[in-house]
Symmetry: C2
Subunit: 353 residues, 2 copies
């Protein structure tokens, strides 16, 4: 499958990718290679990955606990201490083998260790393959606030190998599927139509198509001055829901895709009210997400707290929350201000069967 | 005094600087302005600085405890939480008003907050004026390891106003003087000769000259692939001494300039042994530094521990410690490997009266 060239890094698919990594290692003369995993990818992905790796550099494995709750500065601090203890230097390489938590956090750890060392991302979840493989966003959460601390730093390359999806449970897969649906909604109506029935059988081709869509956007606007903001569709309310569920003791934590599925339904309603998205499309979006993701019930007290998180949204400035909303399926506007009463209406719309 | 143009930022001197900052604020429409100080600059520098600042944006003051011991991830974490609490967004600006601890740490905090916001540096110590005002190095310490965590991020501008030196004590001034002497040693023999008698009377002109020397180096090699390494003269052993004294309970913490003054004498000896620095110049360097900085006494047990810190030096790779050493006063080589026995000899040389 054709590799996708992003800024300074390239996304390689399947077998080609291992050859590319090994070729890069052969010519780069790294002093040492660190493979960052969580306990899940340690168990399921590390052995097959290492069996494909050919290098004379010493390899060390660094393991973190899985899950968003561990994507913190404290974990970074432990990783930086471990790297120092193990003699990592400026010519060391970090390979991040895992989902978005591992690639986001490992990228940040690499970008700030001794003012920046090389890293390679090997996403192992559907979500991280379609979402985190291009764009160079790295980061960790600050308490419940998602990705508040981070940098824009490009990996030297990315390897997407769908073989790692075999051990992924259905809930994790569906979470990644939410981002694929988003790529259709914001940029490609035909892709959306093809995905509506459910996770496609020819998954590798769809992953490639999702990466290509995202890459087209981020190469035009790497630092999110304009166009790149369309990738935030569903994420403004979605992140607020995700943060609230992460911090609330009364609710089980949502996966990222589950939270933005909620956010996309709510923001489809805002799109209908403010950007001319046809009502029928708005309803189609709601029906599709509810079919695949079910429905989350909110209490009255939840809603106020969720809206409270909006003020920490990274897209804000001057106290105003800005949304990326749909003019039509496949066509997105950004920097749309939304009045408070519409936010409440959008939640009511989500809840209505 | 003529401004000095660096990469994306410019260093302005004296009165001109305030006009430039105010002009920048007027056209940039920041949502809020945060001024980072430590308790010293809060007391001595904040009021005169704010009296020159003209902006309609709300201003918040953030204060940290002074000193290298507080240049930590923990302090960054507190600052990021405070910024979030106070509603900082991507259009906020941080002005770092202080010595190297404040400008290094504040630059790192800005470069990783919501993946990077603007910052301006206003160095208030002689050391930070001549050393931290160009080059874009930001960072914090990891335990006793200096600047292990950080980024290369350019401030939008830098203001050097010698008025802030009035409240600086003599020990702090002498610490900054060490970096000025280094600029002469690595790049400008005449400047070295002019500085040998002591801190010059026309200090502003000398600061300007030091910034110009450093800027010439860092603009040619912003990411320290080669030439920029000459700025590390005295810093390989100097940082090891500094780290050891920072962690050791038996020793008082050294100021940065005091530690690199020691390092420069030791590395002058290595320069004599390995790079052809004439013996008379080596002796002149030792005499000059001892005249201004006195002499530090080391115990036998100290020496082993100091050499132990060398393995964490950021210039290392593949387990080898690389030095920048003098061929002559004003002419520097880099990437020089030093045998272990010479390191011990260099310490003995320093100690000998």
């Amino acid at each position: 499958m054709q590799s996708i060239c992003s800024h300074t890094s390239t996304v390689h698919f399947g077998e080609t990718g291992y050859a590319e990594i090994n070729g890069h290692l052969a010519k780069s003369n790294y002093s040492s290679v660190f493979v960052l995993v969580d306990s899940n990818t340690h168990e399921h992905c590390l052995a097959p990955f290492l069996s494909q790796l050919a290098t004379d550099s010493p390899i060390e494995v660094l393991e973190v606990e899985p899950g968003e709750v561990n994507k913190t500065l404290e974990t970074c601090n432990q990783l930086w201490l471990a790297l120092s203890e193990l003699g990592a230097d400026r010519k060391s390489l970090i390979i991040n083998l895992g989902g978005g938590v591992v690639t986001d956090m490992g990228g940040f750890v690499a970008s700030a260790f001794k003012r920046g060392i090389d890293f390679i991302n090997v996403p192992t979840t559907l979500l991280s393959m379609v979402d985190a493989s291009v764009g160079g966003k790295t980061g960790v959460d600050l308490g419940p606030l998602k990705n508040q601390i981070g940098t824009i730093s490009q990996p030297v390359m990315v390897l997407v190998d769908p073989i790692y999806l075999q051990t992924l449970d259905q809930r994790q897969k569906t979470s990644g599927f939410a981002e694929m649906l988003k790529h259709g909604l914001i940029k490609d109506a035909n892709y959306w139509a093809s995905l509506k029935p459910g996770i496609p059988e020819k998954l590798t081709e769809s992953i490639h198509h999702s990466v290509a869509i995202k890459n087209e956007v981020v190469t035009q606007d790497p630092t999110e001055q304009g166009l790149r903001k369309i990738l935030n569709f569903g994420h403004t309310l979605g992140h607020a829901v995700e943060s609230y569920f992460l911090e609330s003791e009364a609710h089980e934590t949502l996966l990222h895709g589950e939270a933005i599925a909620v956010g996309m339904v709510m923001e489809a309603y805002l799109s209908y009210k403010l950007c001319g998205l046809p009502w029928s499309d708005c309803e189609e979006i709601k029906t599709t997400f509810k079919a695949h993701f079910g429905s989350i019930a909110f209490e009255a007290e939840d809603i106020e707290k969720i809206l409270g998180y909006l003020k920490f949204d990274k897209k804000n400035s001057h106290g105003k929350v800005k949304f990326a909303l749909l003019k039509a399926i496949g066509d997105t506007q950004w920097d749309i201000e939304v009045p408070q009463d519409l936010l409440l209406e959008s939640i009511t719309y989500y809840e209505k069967v």
